[in-house]
């Protein structure tokens, strides 16, 4: 559990926005969307790290950076001490095999014209996992692993339900025997009863194959259930990271508190206990100065408006990026 597999260091990513004609005439600089503003994380061997946040906070961008779908503007990701964006690593495709991503939408992430068997066999061929004559056997094994019937190999994706498609996506990711899985909203599109089936499968496979998982989701209950550690992201920055149970039972950052209390409880007697957050997520085109959360925070002071709080360890809690975490927690 203690060995670090992946180290993400001060990751920044901004997407340029096309300049309007008026901006060009007025010689205004081009704007950019700051999707990630200095994310640092460590992923440890065999753990599940949950990543939560509102839409637009950069959690999917982070996942895509990790599998090299986006190149960061600055910052580094080291996988087993090798920079994955370095020249040597770029040529080496083994990283692509060892770190696999699974996507949110089970309807658009599988090729509709390929049968399940072909989808899995393609992954095996590209990475030369098995000699040609063993591929059919391996496909059978994979289908069994994710508990799909054997006749599934002949079928096309449209013949499957959403839950079964996500199983195919999991089988495809596992085909190449990866060490790290990046699950971007893997079960968000599924109904609750099916969601539970897929989550159970993921937990079981993790145990069996000793996988490390980065679990990106907006469903807080689910993240709490599957994660060992959790990172809360707000406007491209980690505002709190720590042990899952500690964070969920006693969140320290005012944003984590509000986010967690906003998830509707299943108990009708809990009505009206949610901490209401004022306003909405500011546009990443125009990130507020200082602490990015200060415009919505009830505990804001002058310091918050100007100084960006750094992530620091809090006794008995995880790491928190808030100037006033101690005082706020005392009053709570």
């Amino acid at each position: 559990m203690t060995q670090t597999v992946m180290k993400i260091d001060d990751l920044h990513l901004s997407f340029p926005v096309s300049r309007s004609l008026l901006d060009v005439v007025q010689r205004k600089p081009g704007k950019s969307v700051n999707a990630l503003n200095g994310v640092s994380l460590e992923l440890k061997q065999g753990e599940t790290l949950g990543v939560v946040g509102e839409s637009g906070c950069g959690k999917s961008t982070l996942a895509r950076c990790i599998v090299r779908l986006y190149a960061p503007t600055s910052g580094q990701i080291h996988f087993e001490d090798e920079n994955i964006f370095g020249a040597a690593a770029r040529k080496d495709r083994s990283y692509n095999r060892r770190v696999q991503m699974m996507f949110q939408d089970p309807y658009s992430s599988l090729n509709p014209r390929m049968s399940t068997g072909d989808i899995l066999a393609e992954a095996l061929r590209v990475h030369q996992m098995r000699p040609e004559n063993e591929i059919a056997g391996r496909v059978e094994e994979l289908l069994e692993l994710v508990r799909l019937p054997q006749d599934a190999a002949e079928k096309l994706p449209h013949e499957f339900s959403g839950g079964q498609r996500q199983r195919i996506a999991i089988a495809r990711a596992l085909a190449v025997e990866p060490e790290v899985l990046i699950a971007d909203e893997l079960v968000s599109a599924l109904d609750v009863s099916v969601q539970a089936q897929v989550v159970n499968l993921l937990l079981e496979l993790q145990e069996r194959l000793k996988l490390t998982i980065l679990f990106v989701a907006h469903d807080l209950r689910l993240v709490r259930h599957v994660s060992n550690r959790v990172a809360v992201i707000y406007l491209g920055r980690i505002v709190e990271i720590g042990d899952s149970e500690t964070l969920f039972s006693a969140p320290s950052h005012p944003y984590s508190r509000a986010l967690l209390s906003a998830a509707p409880s299943l108990d009708p007697d809990d009505k009206g206990v949610a901490i209401q957050l004022e306003g909405e997520l500011p546009s990443p085109l125009n990130v507020p100065s200082g602490c990015p959360f200060h415009v919505r925070c009830r505990h804001v002071t002058a310091q918050c408006r100007t100084v960006v709080p750094a992530l620091r360890a809090l006794e008995g809690r995880g790491e928190v990026a808030c100037h006033h975490a101690e005082e706020i927690n005392q009053h709570a």
């Binding site: 509102e54 609750v192 149970e245 509707p264």
Partner: protein, 329 residues
């Protein structure tokens, strides 16, 4: 349930046909709703909850066959002409949809879309309509309402667009609001704001609400009564506290237990085995029987009907789960 229900739905059935086969999308849905009352319809995708809502307002009859009765303040909506219905839609019964992105016209300003409703349903003058529009935007919590009337939907965020939708729906002070997954596309923090807003307005205007959702948490936090739907039928309904805390139908119980709450972390979650049946090939007996652990031989051949099991509490099951002491008390 309530002394004078404003909306009474009885044995509502909606059938679609595809390629000559009849698809029973909604079957025998009945419920009643009083003033200021919030009724939830919950179920998985394809269970018929949205179609029920659309059948109430006469939208489903354009593409399906609707039978049964929907009485709105004594008037029968199912037999009403399109012309008569148009007087009720928007004025007495309003509806908000799931997608705030697609249900607003992108080419018209928010102000135009708001005053359009007022023009159709009230006899306010031009100036008064504008004032009312500003008042409504203010009411749903949109800052600087007056200056935002001239803006287009794309200039609003998702949460703000849903607020605009609510403002439009409530502009003519309807007595019933039909809300189809109003917060599903939104983040939890915004969801909490919007649900709070709907409840507050329902209370202030003593408006009834029918809320369709797949999220049991949303049901627990907003509804007074709830109907759980499976494969087009209501399998259990009653007071929200009773239904969620002591479910009597195995499906309701399965749904509640699949939500990871109060279970040890990283353990196997309870899951209902199998998947919901296709409407093309519904089982002969109870639609839930193939996935049900307490199914007996009777469940395979006969279909259970909704029976009263306690006051205001109904379930459609031959072998309902035992009532706990709390339920009996």
């Amino acid at each position: 349930m309530t002394d004078h229900p404003i909306l009474e739905v009885e044995n509502l059935c909606t059938t679609f046909s595809r390629g000559g086969t009849a698809l029973p999308a909604v079957r025998d849905v009945s419920f009643a709703l009083g003033k200021g009352h919030v009724q939830g319809l919950v179920g998985e995708s394809g269970s018929g909850k949205s179609v029920t809502l659309r059948s109430i307002l006469g939208l489903a009859r354009h593409y399906g066959e609707v039978s049964g009765s929907v009485r709105w303040q004594g008037q029968e909506l199912t037999s009403m002409s399109e012309r008569q219905l148009r007087k009720i839609r928007g004025r007495e019964i309003a509806m908000i949809f799931q997608e705030p992105m697609t249900s607003l016209n992108p080419l018209l300003t928010v102000g135009t879309q708001l005053t359009e409703t007022l023009k159709a349903h009230t006899d306010l003058g031009r100036r008064a309509r504008r004032d009312r529009a500003i008042e409504m935007l203010d009411h749903v919590g949109i800052p600087a309402a007056a200056s935002r009337l001239g803006e287009y939907p794309h200039q609003f965020s998702g949460g703000m667009r849903q607020r605009v939708m609510i403002a439009i729906a409530l502009a003519a002070s309807p007595k019933l609001l039909l809300a189809d997954e109003p917060t599903t596309a939104l983040d939890v923090t915004i969801q909490a704001q919007i649900l709070d807003l709907i409840l507050k307005l329902a209370d202030e205007m003593s408006m009834g609400v029918v809320l369709v959702t797949h999220d049991l948490g949303v049901v627990a936090q907003t509804c007074d009564t709830v109907s759980v739907m499976y494969a087009g039928r209501v399998v259990e309904q009653g007071d929200v506290r009773q239904v969620l805390q002591t479910p009597r139908h195995p499906y309701t119980e399965g749904l509640m237990r699949s939500v990871p709450q109060d279970v040890p972390p990283r353990t196997q979650l309870y899951s209902v085995p199998g998947t919901p049946p296709s409407l093309f090939s519904l089982p002969e007996g109870c639609a839930f029987a193939p996935r049900c652990q307490s199914a007996g031989p009777a469940c395979q051949t006969a279909r259970p009907t909704l029976q009263d099991i306690a006051s205001g509490r109904q379930t459609a099951c031959f072998n309902p789960l035992p009532a706990t002491q709390e339920d009996a008390a």
